[in-house]
Amino acid sequence: MLEINDVFETVRMIENENLDIRTITMGISLLDCCDSDIDKACNKVYEKIVRKAENLVKTGEDIEREYGIPIINKRVSVTPISMILAASGGDPLKYAKTLERAVNTIGVNFLGGYSALVQKGFAAGDEALIRSIPEALDITDHICSSVNIGSTKTGINMDAVKLMGEIVKQSAEVTAYKDCIGPAKLVVFCNAPEDNPFMAGAFHGAGEPDCVINVGVSGPGVVRSAISRIPDANITEIAEMVKRTAFKITRVGQLVANEASRRLDVPFGIVDLSLAPTPAVGDSVAYILEEMGLEQCGAHGTTACLALLNDAVKKGGVMASSSVGGLSGAFIPVSEDAGMINAARSGCLKIEKLEAMTAVCSVGLDMIVIPGDTTPAVISAIIADEAAIGMVNSKTTAVRVIPAVGKNVGDELEFGGLLGSGPVMPINTKSPEKFISRGGRIPAPLQSLKN
């Protein structure tokens, strides 16, 4: 028989501490949809996504009701569309519209994969797809885009870095009439994982199986609450508590992943061990750091606390899952985290501190609102800095900044839903124009020579 305390602990985690499964993401390969005729390719893409994922939302809801655990998002990731475009040529926006139509048929929250992998250079289809991103993110509501511009193995493609600065800026401008939502759905990666279930950066890598179920867990509220119950513990004890909590959270993720995989008859891929915050109070990664003993997130000590948290989450989670992947770590998206928003508003959390934090957490500069007059070159330089951290440390880093067109420091941008809202944060405006305009490639670092 189960222990009564264990039963109530589980119920408390779900009811009071926002424990949930953040996403069940079905990865679908579109490689067999390639066709030299773009209209035929679009038909195949639509047909395959709908055929594979038609029961995804219902299955997620069934599991949710049976197990009593909320499953917030049901999503789809697909093969980077640039690869399909390489075969067909033509107008990439046809694919964007096709994907949106498929999303509306199957009812998922988001679809990721309007993507290109250009860490070493542009292949056929890559540049055309990237240049279409601003319009694609404007004419669709549920499509997410990502571009990988660097990796530890290849170095950083500075031509792509330059281009992406311009694309992020353009994307904000064309969606200025809807609070610059475009760049909130666009991630620029270094070392992008090919099995990541989280948006906006999810895509289905070319080495993945035909169809796969990946699950992203969450639970910052549970971790914070566990730490708050040991107020006088030393740091070793806190690390142990985070590990134990992460284990429990991940076991639930693995259970849901197995069940979804069985019911949909699709192989299980990975569980992504992530602490993903939401704007709901009590579901914040920043508040975990503050619970460890910081007056506010952004204070000196933040990077150390985050390093401990990130590591303990992995150590606890890795034993709880048969296969771990994706981003796996703590997320620090500013506009999606109530504690980060407060810290950014008060000026305690600055972009330089966030950059340092990205060296020890799972992703990068995420959901940061920057002044609308920021030049493309500055955005490119932010991307280059972040990619350099990822490249040298053999980790994923990413940039998702949102230039708030017509707004300046002190103003706020409101996206609503999981994307939240955020204050415009000040950034260094000295020009990196010459550096960015040089183009070329930052060679792969010594760390890449492991053979």
């Binding site: 189960l2 039963v7 589980t10 009701r65 049976e66 197990y67 009593g68």
Partner: protein, 89 residues
Amino acid sequence: MRAVITVVGKDKVGICAKTSTLCAEHNVNISAVSQNIFDDLFCMVMLVETDGLDIPFGDFADILAKEGRDMGLDIHAMHEDIFNAMHKI
């Protein structure tokens, strides 16, 4: 399958009766019950067998939750596996 029903709320007459009646009405067999009162707070955990359930499990969970709200109680019905996954290796 086996499920766990948890009931938490201010103690009053008829909590056990109401919950057990709902189980009986929907052909759910109660295998074990553990119950305690802490500071006037009634806490009960029931392990039940739902193979004979006459409606989908999700609907049954919704009925329990609604009856619970009407009596000022928190009632949850969840698949047993979620507790086993979290607390047993």
